[in-house]
Structure formats: structure tokens, C-alpha cells
């Protein structure tokens, strides 16, 4: 077999006119010229591979960076923040010496191409981010969005995604405790598969992705490197799908959760013995990313011998090895005298580990192959000094018209009978229906610390068995709200996740986000993005919950049609004693139902407007962050002092959706009375923010009312937990069995 001469640095310098396939690798012409300018010569093939993946939208955040800065600039003062944006994941102090790391990421495009593997490796990637911080992963959550529930392709994508998330997460032994499933035609062809993970460690165990100390060894461990996922980051994640282009199947990675489980245990054991100076997982852009980021964040340079990388396929070229996104690999920097022990631990867990290089005195990243130097770059130019775009953005011409199309003008139910029919239709609609067909495919018991899991308002995990210290996480996003008003839509996503955490009794501490948008090359999409980021940063500042990290997914668009702007927000909270948690389910008959907050006629973007009228227009509900904060304080105090036995936040679907869920979960009905000043329709379907329904034991009523009164939170008695039906007095009665059939039958009928 003959090969063209190795494209070494020397060779590149001597052959300046060789044409390289920069366009095929996803680089724009000016970006390629910038690489040539940085290097003072044409790049070698290997260097081009590295720059192209690292400068892709997915890795470099080149279109979003200028906006994301606000998360840092507007970050509220928070004593809880231990590690902020820029590391593999943010780290938050939750007290008692514990630190929690969490993050949400997207794996949207791969999951459309190959639903099972795309979703599975999404879980794998986020979990490695958590391990790389030094933490033991303790839970995962999965916010998912698909096309119309009855579209034939949804039946291809959704079961594969769900099986992939379950197949990977279940095998890792991570309880899946939360997330969302949303259907909307706008996600047809662009499903959103976001994956979040939480990890727990002691403060002193925090690890960072940096290579320092000349002479320290760089160890690659985990799976062998194969041909899967080559160019995944640059090609799949950063370009719009187009029918005319050839199939992209080979660029999706294939996961092996068993290997990752071994990687978790092996890494944690190495951490316990303090063997690791710096660590980085191999995800998007594989070795290119790991080596350049480790070297760039550290004090010295790095020299790597690519021949030492264990391969699954011996015919891989050095460029392919650098770009491969083979899963279940990590890279550790270890002091020379600790290398043997590190390798021993890897052997114990049957994990392949190889020294592939070392930290050097210089400031260059040098990579060798067959004795020739094929990469010689300043790692910062690869990892951190990629292009930054000030993409033009403009409020779309159609925005005014959309907002003027007020949902308040839609015909409302004229009779009690019609109202009742619409309630049944709402709670049985795909978005509002029970998702247990999906969540029952995820293990939520493993590790034996799950206090709350979906369909609770937030997932909750105990982290200390002695003290009962726990953490809660909720993820929320509403693309319909954000389409109507991206600034407030993003704030509403935060408000909902914040409220969901507080509803279970936990104190919201910090935020991670996954920002899913269309093509940044479309000024209208860029405006949506800029507005959403500004809205989220402003709201985080006001609520005192800093953004600790996250992920941006752009190009979620097929042809001209972009998805709804979909910022998904995860809020992490802490609870001193999980015994005080508040569940959604009604607990006891006779308990009094209180509606907290104010209800206005707000139907823009509502579930009702979608389900009954297939309408999207007007303005989303108003945001009042001070009210959200007050509501959260009340919910947390009430939980701590035992004043409420169940609570449910009000969001999409309004009060009726919340009450139906609490009733069905608890197997207990309720009698509701429409409060003075509200009509039954608004009472049941309005989606005003800053509200929750709580069940108060009669013995606590006075105390609870006094607290709400003293702190100025409107609390309206709206009924009582009672019987086996839902009775809205003067309007209609629905038996729990009717409601259950409507609520629980939909998803299996569509998908099973």
C-alpha cells in the first residue's frame, strides 16, 4: 500500500501551494486564512483537522460568545459558586462540605440522524463532563422535544431516543429523575435532545481541566479510538440539514455504557488516591479538544505521540485520530511517580490506559506521528482564540403581527359542558398527557437516594444519609412563549424551573442552560438568541442565581424553517433535609387547597390556545421576578415548617392541569370553587406565572394564612381535597377514572 508523504510541519512549510479541503471540514474561507496567518504557513492536514473541529460553532461558540458574556458580566454575587463558566461544568457549594456540579447539553442533530446512539452518547458525554470535575454522577435529567406527536417520523425518532437514553443511563446506574417531553410541529426534523447530569463531591475533590508541571504524563484511558464520529462536531452540529447533501450517518458516535461505567469507577478511584493533576473528557472534537484545552488552560505546553493512541482500526490516519469522537475516553495529567499506580487502577477496572505524551516547558502543543511532527501550534489559538462573530441581528418583520394576534380574542367555551370537554381535551393532549410510558423506561431507583422523580415538579436526590441534605433539579423551557417574546420567554423558562425547585421545598441556587435555536446566519434567529440571552442574564441577576455553564445548539433548522427559539433552563436547588420535601400528589382528604399568586387573563402561547385552537399569537404571561422570589420563599418556609402536604407549580395548562395531576398521582379528588372576581375559564386555563397550588392541613390553615398575609403573597382558598372526582362547583364534575383515561391513554396510544 502506498501513501502520500506524511504531511509534517516541515512538509507544509515546503509546500505552501497544496490545496487543503478546508471547506469540506466546515471552515469558511476567512477562517482558513486566519489559520494560515496564525501559523505563518499553511496548516498540515492534522492541524487543519484540529482547527476545523475546534473552530466549529459547536466547540467555539463563535456566533454566541459575544452574547454569552452577559452571563458573566451580570452574574449576581453568590457565595455558592465554586467553579463558574468555562470549565467542563460549573460547581456549586451546597453546604456541609459538599459541592455539586451540574450541566445541560444538547445532542440534537445526532439524535435525529440516529436516534438511539445520538441520545445515548448525549448522556455519555454529559456524564463524562461531570466526572471530569471530580464528582460522582448521581442523576440525569432529559429535556426532550419532538415534532407533532402524530407525525410518522416522531414514531421513528422518539422511541429510539427514549431507548437510547434509558439504554445508556440505566446501564450506568444513574437514576433519571426529571426532564420534559414536548411535542410541536416546529421540531419536526429537528428534535431537541438535551441531557443534563448532576454530580456530587467534597469541596477538596474539585478537579480542573488543565495540564501543568513540565514532565507530567498525559494518559489517555478508556475505549480505543475508532472511526466513529469523525467530524461530528464540525459537520453535524454546525450545519443545517439539507436534503441535497449525502447521508451523514457515519459521523454519529456509537456508545458503550458498560465501558463508561468502568471509566466512572476507575476515575473516581484515581481521584480518591489523589493521582490526578488535571483531567479532561473526550467529547466533541475528541483528542483535538482534550489536548488543546488541557495545554491551553495549563502553564506549559504539551508533546503527544499519536502512534501511542490505542486504535480500534489500524488504518486510521492521524487526522482521523485527532478528530475521532469515539466515546468513553478520558485524558488525565499525572505526575511521573504516580503513573504506575494510575495504570494499576485502570487495569483493575479492565480499562485500557496509555501514556501518550507529556507536559513540556514550552508553550506549544506538538503532536508526532511516525517520527514526524505533524502539529506545532499555540494551543490557545486552537482552544480559545477561535473566530468570534458579531452576527447581524434584527427583530423579525413578522414579530409585531404575531404579538398582535391576541389569544384573548379566541372563542372561549360558552357552556359548562364545553368547558368540561376542553378540560378533558387539554389533559389528554400529547403535551399535557402523562409521560409515564416514556419515564418508565428509565431507572429512577438506582443508587437508592431518589427522593423525588418525574412527574414531580423537580427531581430530588439525597446526598448525605446522616443529615438528609439533598439537591433538587428542574429543567423547563417553553418554545411557544419564547417565539412570542424571546426576552420574556427565556425569563419564563427560568422562572418556571426556579418555581419548580422551590415547590418541592428546595432553595434555588444556580442555573445551567441549553440554548436551542435555528441558524445564526439568519438575523431573525440571531435576534431571538440575543434577546433570550439578555432576558436570561437579567433574570438570573435579579433572582440571585448565577449561570454556572451550559451549552448552545444552533442550526436547529431544516431549510428555511427554524425551530421555535427554545432556551431550556435547569435550576439546581438545595434542601437541608429531604424529609421536608413537598410532593405533587394530594396526600389526605379534607386538606384545603390554596391558590398562591395572582391570576390574570393570560392565554398567549398557552396550552389551551394550542390544544383547542391550534393558535400561537399574542404575548406570553407577564414576568414578575420579585413575585417569583416571594412565592419561592413561602413555599420553602411552608415545607420546612410542615404547613403544606403537597404543592404543584402552575405553568402550561394552568390550574386545571396542576390539580388533575395532583389528584391522579394521589388517587384523591377535589372540589374547587371559582374565586370571586374570576370566571371559571380564566380560573382553570390561564397561565399567569408566579403561581402554585398547595394543600394545607386544616390544623395549619391559620398559620399558613398568617404567613402569606404578613409577607404579602395573595393566597386564595379554592377548594378541598375530597372524593374520587374533580368537581368544579357550578360547572362540571369529572371522575378520576375519566380523567385518568384521558391523561394516561394518549402517549401509549400514539407510540406503543
Amino acid at each position: 500500500m502506498s501513501r502520500t508523504p506524511l504531511d509534517t510541519v516541515e512538509h507544509a512549510a515546503a509546500t505552501p501551494d497544496v490545496e487543503l479541503p478546508w471547506a469540506e471540514l466546515g471552515l469558511k474561507k476567512d477562517e482558513y486564512e486566519r489559520v494560515v496567518e496564525i501559523l505563518g504557513r499553511r496548516p498540515t492536514g492534522a492541524e487543519l483537522a484540529m482547527y476545523s473541529v475546534m473552530w466549529s460553532e459547536h466547540c467555539s461558540y463563535k456566533s454566541s460568545k459575544v452574547h454569552l458574556r452577559q452571563f458573566g458580566e451580570k452574574a449576581p454575587q453568590s457565595d455558592a459558586m465554586l467553579v463558574g463558566i468555562g470549565e467542563n461544568a460549573g460547581v456549586v457549594d451546597v453546604g456541609q462540605g459538599y459541592a455539586v456540579t451540574f450541566k445541560v447539553e444538547s445532542h440534537n442533530h445526532p439524535s435525529y440522524v440516529e436516534p438511539y446512539q445520538g441520545a445515548a452518547t448525549g448522556v455519555g458525554g454529559i456524564v463524562r463532563d461531570i466526572i471530569a470535575m471530580g464528582a460522582r454522577p448521581v442523576a440525569v435529567v432529559d429535556p426532550l422535544r419532538f415534532g407533532a406527536a402524530d407525525h410518522p417520523d416522531t414514531k421513528r425518532v422518539l422511541p429510539g431516543v427514549v431507548a437510547g437514553i434509558g439504554g445508556y443511563g440505566n446501564c450506568l446506574g444513574l437514576p433519571n429523575i426529571g426532564g420534559e417531553v414536548v411535542f410541536d410541529a416546529c421540531y419536526q426534523g429537528n428534535p431537541l435532545v438535551n441531557a443534563g447530569a448532576i454530580g456530587v463531591m467534597r469541596h477538596e475533590d474539585i478537579h480542573l481541566a488543565k495540564a501543568s508541571g513540565a514532565g507530567n504524563k498525559v494518559i489517555l484511558y478508556g475505549a480505543r479510538t475508532g472511526g466513529d464520529g469523525i467530524g461530528g462536531a464540525s459537520i453535524l452540529a454546525s450545519e443545517t440539514f439539507d436534503d441535497a447533501k449525502p447521508s451523514k450517518r457515519p459521523a454519529v458516535q456509537v456508545g458503550d455504557p458498560f465501558q463508561e461505567k468502568l471509566l466512572i469507577e476507575c476515575t473516581l478511584e484515581a481521584f480518591r488516591e489523589k493521582l490526578v493533576v488535571g483531567i479532561q473528557d473526550l467529547g466533541a472534537a475528541g483528542l483535538s479538544c482534550a489536548t488543546s484545552e488541557l495545554a491551553s488552560n495549563g502553564s506549559g505546553g504539551m508533546r503527544v505521540t499519536l502512534d501511542d493512541v490505542p486504535l480500534r482500526d489500524s488504518t486510521l490516519s492521524p487526522e482521523e485520530i485527532l478528530m475521532s469522537e469515539s466515546q468513553e475516553r478520558m485524558c488525565a495529567v499525572v505526575e511521573p511517580e504516580k503513573v504506575d499506580r494510575f495504570l494499576e487502577i485502570c487495569e483493575k477496572w479492565d480499562v485500557i490506559a496509555t501514556v501518550i505524551g507529556e507536559v513540556t516547558d514550552g508553550d506549544r502543543l506538538e503532536i508526532y506521528w511516525h517520527g514526524g511532527k505533524i502539529v506545532d501550534v499555540d494551543p490557545r489559538t486552537v482552544a480559545h482564540e477561535g473566530p468570534v462573530y458579531e452576527r447581524p441581528y434584527a427583530r423579525p418583520s413578522w414579530q409585531d403581527e404575531l404579538q398582535a394576534d391576541d389569544a384573548g380574542k379566541l372563542p372561549r367555551p360558552a357552556t359548562s359542558e364545553e368547558l368540561k370537554d376542553q378540560v378533558l381535551k387539554l389533559v389528554g393532549s400529547p403535551n399535557q398527557a402523562s409521560k409515564s410510558w416514556i419515564t418508565s423506561q428509565y431507572d429512577h431507583f438506582v443508587q437508592g437516594n431518589t427522593v423525588l422523580a418525574q412527574p414531580e415538579d423537580s427531581g430530588m436526590i439525597r446526598i448525605d444519609e446522616e443529615t438528609g441534605l439533598g439537591v433538587a433539579i428542574a429543567t423547563d423551557g417553553n418554545g411557544r412563549y419564547a417565539k412570542l417574546d424571546p426576552y420574556h420567554g427565556a425569563q419564563l423558562a427560568l422562572a418556571e424551573a426556579y418555581r419548580n425547585v422551590a415547590t418541592t421545598g428546595a432553595k434555588p441556587l444556580a442555573v445551567s442552560d441549553c440554548l436551542n435555536f435555528g441558524s445564526p446566519e439568519d438575523p431573525a434567529v440571531m435576534w431571538q438568541f440575543a434577546e433570550a440571552v439578555r432576558g436570561l442574564a437579567d433574570a438570573c441577576q435579579q433572582l440571585g442565581t448565577p449561570v454556572t455553564g451550559g451549552n448552545v445548539s444552533l442550526y436547529n433548522q431544516t431549510g428555511e424553517a427554524a425551530i421555535h427559539p427554545t432556551p431550556v433552563v435547569a435550576v439546581l436547588g438545595v434542601i437541608d433535609d429531604v424529609a421536608r420535601r413537598t410532593p405533587v400528589a394530594f396526600q389526605e382528604e379534607g386538606q384545603l387547597l390554596y391558590l398562591l399568586g395572582d391570576t390574570h387573563e393570560e392565554f398567549g402561547g398557552s396550552a389551551w390556545s394550542q390544544v383547542v385552537h391550534d393558535h400561537l399569537g399574542g404575548l406570553p404571561p407577564k414576568v414578575d421576578l420579585e413575585r417569583e422570589r416571594l412565592l419561592a420563599e413561602i413555599l420553602i418556609s411552608a415545607s420546612r415548617d410542615g404547613m403544606i402536604d403537597s404543592a404543584h407549580d402552575l405553568s402550561d395548562g394552568g390550574l386545571i392541569q396542576a390539580v388533575v395531576e395532583s389528584a391522579l398521582l394521589g388517587g384523591k379528588g377535589a372540589r374547587l370553587i371559582v374565586p370571586d372576581g374570576l370566571d371559571a375559564f380564566t380560573f382553570l386555563f390561564s397561565e399567569s406565572a408566579g403561581r402554585a397550588v398547595v394543600a394545607v392541613p386544616r390544623s395549619e390553615e391559620v398559620r399558613f394564612n398568617d404567613m402569606c398575609g404578613a409577607r404579602g403573597l395573595p393566597a386564595t382558598r379554592i377548594g378541598v381535597v375530597d372524593g374520587d372526582s374533580l368537581d368544579v362547583q357550578g360547572e362540571f364534575t369529572l371522575s378520576l377514572s375519566e380523567l385518568r383515561e384521558a391523561h394516561e391513554g394518549t402517549i401509549p396510544a400514539l407510540l406503543a
Partner: protein, 226 residues
């Protein structure tokens, strides 16, 4: 005095720490055993916990069954050492022929995780004396390959000898023959089941029930009184 109960960790075991916690909560002393161990560290009983040993490659339990630790375990189990196999542990016990039958993929082809109602059919095994025969309990179930199958003659024998230890009630979650959720060997010292008693030992955690704790208190009492 208390009893020392071993929990084997294979590569891919997931519920080893949970099982150790359940043993501790019952008042016994958990002892970590490693799949490469050639002896059982003189434990009084062993639990093979749930998970995906060796990634379920080849067949669930098929590779773990050949681990070094299985040699002394087989020998001592035949001599009366109490052994409990939960989920993947049950699969390993059938692969090792300590228990009859085998598990196929769930008939609906999905992983299933739910709070499962069971009836305790045999309350005289080493692991079930703290239940009463016929008692109905709720225990979490979570598996991909939980469909219990055996030939008709074996099933008839199991029924006749009272060796069906647990049966699914109200809903058969995986297509198991005769609703079988767990079985015991003839001597009653080796028991295997698909549901996870170690996930039902604390009132706040998981489903909020403690219906699984008697597994661990049963064995403790037996060992301490022996």
C-alpha cells in the same frame, strides 16, 4: 453478634452500594466482595446485586457466571450458604445453574421501571421468613431482560415443590411464565428474583415503602439464631 453478608461487585454492577446500605439498615454487616476474589472472606451469606455485569454482553449474567468469585460461591451455595440474587444477580444464578430457568427480554421489548406488586408465595426460604405466605408487597422492578421462562416440566415441579417464591400480582411486567417473579432452590438457601428489595428499605426514598427490608432482616435472624 451480627452477621457478615457479602455483596459481590462485578464490572458493571450497579446496586452494590445500595445493597450494602440495605444490609446495614437491617442491622447486619455488609462485606464488599470483588469479582476476582478467590474466596468469600468467610461471609455468612452473599447477595449478587443488580446491574449490567459485563454490559449484559452475550447474555445477561453469562460472563459474570465465570468470574473467579463464582467458584467458591457455587461450592458453598451447594453446601447451604445463603445466596440472594437480585435482578442481574438472579440472571447470574440461573446462568450458573444454581436456580432453574432463564430470563428472556421483556415481552414488550422495553426496559421497564415501576413499583411492582408481588405476592410472597414461600415464606420459608432463608431470605423470606419475615414475610408471611400470601403476603402482598410492593417492590421496585427495573429490567430489560426479566421474562422468566422454563420448560413446562420444570415449572410444574417448581409449583409442586413450593419453589415459586414470588409472583407478580395485578400486572405481569415482562411476560414471565406463570407470573413468576422469583424462585428458590429446593433447600431454600438460594433465592433469586427480578424486583429490587434493596430499593424498598427506607420510607423516604424511592417509592417510599419498606417492603423490601424483610429480605435482609430474615437472613440476619436466621444467621444470628443459627
Amino acid at each position: 453478634m451480627t452477621a457478615r453478608i457479602g455483596v459481590v461487585t462485578f464490572p458493571g454492577s450497579l446496586d452494590d452500594r445500595d445493597t450494602q446500605r440495605a444490609i446495614r439498615l437491617a442491622g447486619a454487616e455488609p462485606v464488599a466482595l470483588w469479582h476476582k476474589d478467590k474466596d468469600l472472606k468467610q461471609v455468612d451469606a452473599v447477595v449478587l446485586c443488580g446491574g449490567f455485569s459485563y454490559g449484559d454482553y452475550l447474555r445477561a449474567g453469562a460472563i459474570a457466571r465465570f468470574s473467579p468469585v463464582m467458584e467458591p460461591l457455587l461450592e458453598q451455595a451447594k453446601a447451604g450458604l445463603p445466596v440472594l440474587g437480585i435482578c442481574n444477580g438472579f440472571q447470574i444464578l440461573t446462568e450458573a445453574h444454581l436456580l432453574p430457568g432463564t430470563m428472556l427480554r421483556n415481552d414488550h421489548l422495553h426496559f421497564i421501571c415501576r413499583d411492582q406488586k408481588l405476592r410472597v408465595e414461600n415464606a420459608e426460604t432463608a431470605w423470606t421468613t419475615d414475610y408471611t405466605a400470601g403476603q402482598e408487597i410492593h417492590i421496585p422492578l427495573k429490567n430489560n431482560d426479566g421474562q422468566y421462562v422454563a420448560d413446562e416440566r420444570t415449572l410444574d415441579e417448581l409449583e409442586a415443590e413450593g419453589r415459586v417464591a414470588f409472583r407478580y400480582l395485578d400486572f405481569n411486567p415482562n411476560g414471565s411464565q406463570r407470573d413468576i417473579a422469583g424462585v428458590t432452590n429446593a433447600a431454600g438457601n438460594v433465592v433469586g428474583l427480578m424486583p429490587h428489595p434493596e430499593h424498598a428499605v427506607e420510607p423516604l426514598i424511592g417509592t417510599g415503602r419498606t417492603d423490601g427490608l424483610p429480605f435482609f432482616t430474615s437472613i440476619l435472624k436466621k444467621l444470628v439464631n443459627a
